[in-house]
Amino acid sequence: MSTTQSNAPTPEKGKTSVLRLDRICLKFGDKRVLNGIDLSVVEGEVVVLIGASGSGKTSLLRCINLLNTPTSGSIVIDDEVLFHRQADGKNGTPIPNQEVNRIRSKTGMVFQQFNLFPHMTALENVMEGPVIVKKEPKEQARQTALKLLDLMGLAQHVEKYPRQLSGGQQQRVAIARAMAMQPKVMLFDEPTSALDPELVGEVMKAMVELAKSGMTMVIVTHELGFAFEVADRVVFLDQGLVAEQGPPSKVLLHPEHPRLKSFVGRFHESADLLRPFLEARQAEKAC
């Protein structure tokens, strides 16, 4: 496996970069959580972030839409600067709140705990962003929302409140809610970790469909099999730094970094048996 291949984004996908992070640093008090992360995601690319618990995956994802404000670094989404601050603390371009809200709505986020609005039905949850933030006419937003919920396999449940839905259904509503803002990139923070095992599959299936439709995605997950299946690139975070990255066949099957080796160890063992099969599959995908 050559290293040049491992570092280049998959060539057949679009070349426009949708998301660019430059030297993102984040501290909570004295605790350094991110130590200069560079990450560029091109249109249609699916990036999976892996790493041990506490390595900064959630923090990084929350920096992308400024739910966490980085200490320094810069964030560009769809060619618009969302954040820029030099390491010396000087704020190169202060960006007004209104602009921040507008640019951040080009990202859609799906949370581990779903975070649906409990006082609204599934349909109202999905319509909220377009109607309140984008000021779309209600009827138009309703049609779009119904389509999205249908796509998520929830046509039967549009009038239900979150508490009447299973975890898997709630998470799919949450995906539809984020998609309703027509984001350029979707961010997923361990979207299946809070689910009962039998519900994990339906959410993964919905995400695979999204990926197939060409959506740009950044996904934090511990499901390495799923990562292998869906990722164009796997990024391994360690102590707030990108320690290794590349195509799944490289990072998950032939890891180099010692901590990545032990991290994927168990997957690796079972993958050893499957390797011929997995590699054939990867080759198929590349054609």
């Binding site: 709140n97 951040r104 709505s105 975070n115 609005f117 409990p118 909220e128």
Partner: protein, 218 residues
């Protein structure tokens, strides 16, 4: 022994007193809600001086006995400020400021009890601070706030009896006036107690019911 005629003969005075009590209950709860909402939101802002100002307000009015506040506004404040304050205004200001401090705390606690994930989700779809508050946070917080708001408002009605100390002719003031010339305090004060029970017991039951329905809505 128990002479009902004392009450029936003076029913007009008691009625006037009751109206005064209800009037002050309603207007001070109204003003208190507006002021309390304001102070509560100030405490929830991210601007430190405002937060401290809100906290100072709450601690000030919560920790001074209401009777002292009323007497101070009526007797001391006019001397400080060099203006004339009628007993009605003194009663209105004292009671409103007092209850506002409790309402503000209820609001703050209610908003802070909403899962921070709700703010994250609302922010992530691009909502501004105002949109988040109005559409997502306050509707959820208000649901939890209804029982304590109802409780505090019931206490407020009882607290209006302190108005008699600054000679506002509320129910209790009329009662002491009636007993001063009939010499029948037993009948008169019993009647006052019964009137409060008749009004407040249904309200208490209602707030219990709201509490239950609020709990099941969660």
């Amino acid at each position: 022994m128990f002479d009902y005629t004392v009450i029936t003969n003076n029913i007009g005075l008691l009625w006037q007193g009751l109206l005064m009590t209800l009037y002050f209950t309603v207007i001070t709860i109204g003003a208190g809600l507006v002021l309390g909402l304001f102070v509560g939101l100030i405490q929830l802002s991210t601007f430190r001086p405002l937060v401290l100002l809100g906290q100072a307000y709450v601690e000030f009015f919560r920790n001074i006995p209401l009777l002292v506040t009323l007497l101070w506004v009526y007797y001391a404040f006019p001397i400080f400020a060099g203006i004339n304050v009628t007993k009605f205004w003194a009663g209105f200001i004292g009671l409103s400021c007092y209850v506002a401090s409790f309402y503000a705390e209820i609001l703050r606690a209610g908003v802070q009890s909403v899962d921070p994930g709700q703010t994250d989700a609302a922010t992530a779809i691009g909502m501004s601070y105002g949109q988040r508050m109005r559409r997502i946070i306050l509707p959820q917080a208000f649901r939890k706030m209804i029982p304590p708001l109802a409780g505090q408002s019931i206490i407020q009605m009882k607290n209006t009896t302190l108005l008699s100390m600054i000679t506002v002719p509320d129910l209790l003031y009329q009662a002491s006036y009636i007993s001063s010339f009939t010499y029948r305090p037993m009948e008169v004060y019993t009647a006052v107690g019964v009137i409060f029970l008749i009004i407040l017991i249904p309200l208490t039951l209602l707030s219990r019911k709201l509490e239950k329905s609020g709990a099941s809505a969660k």
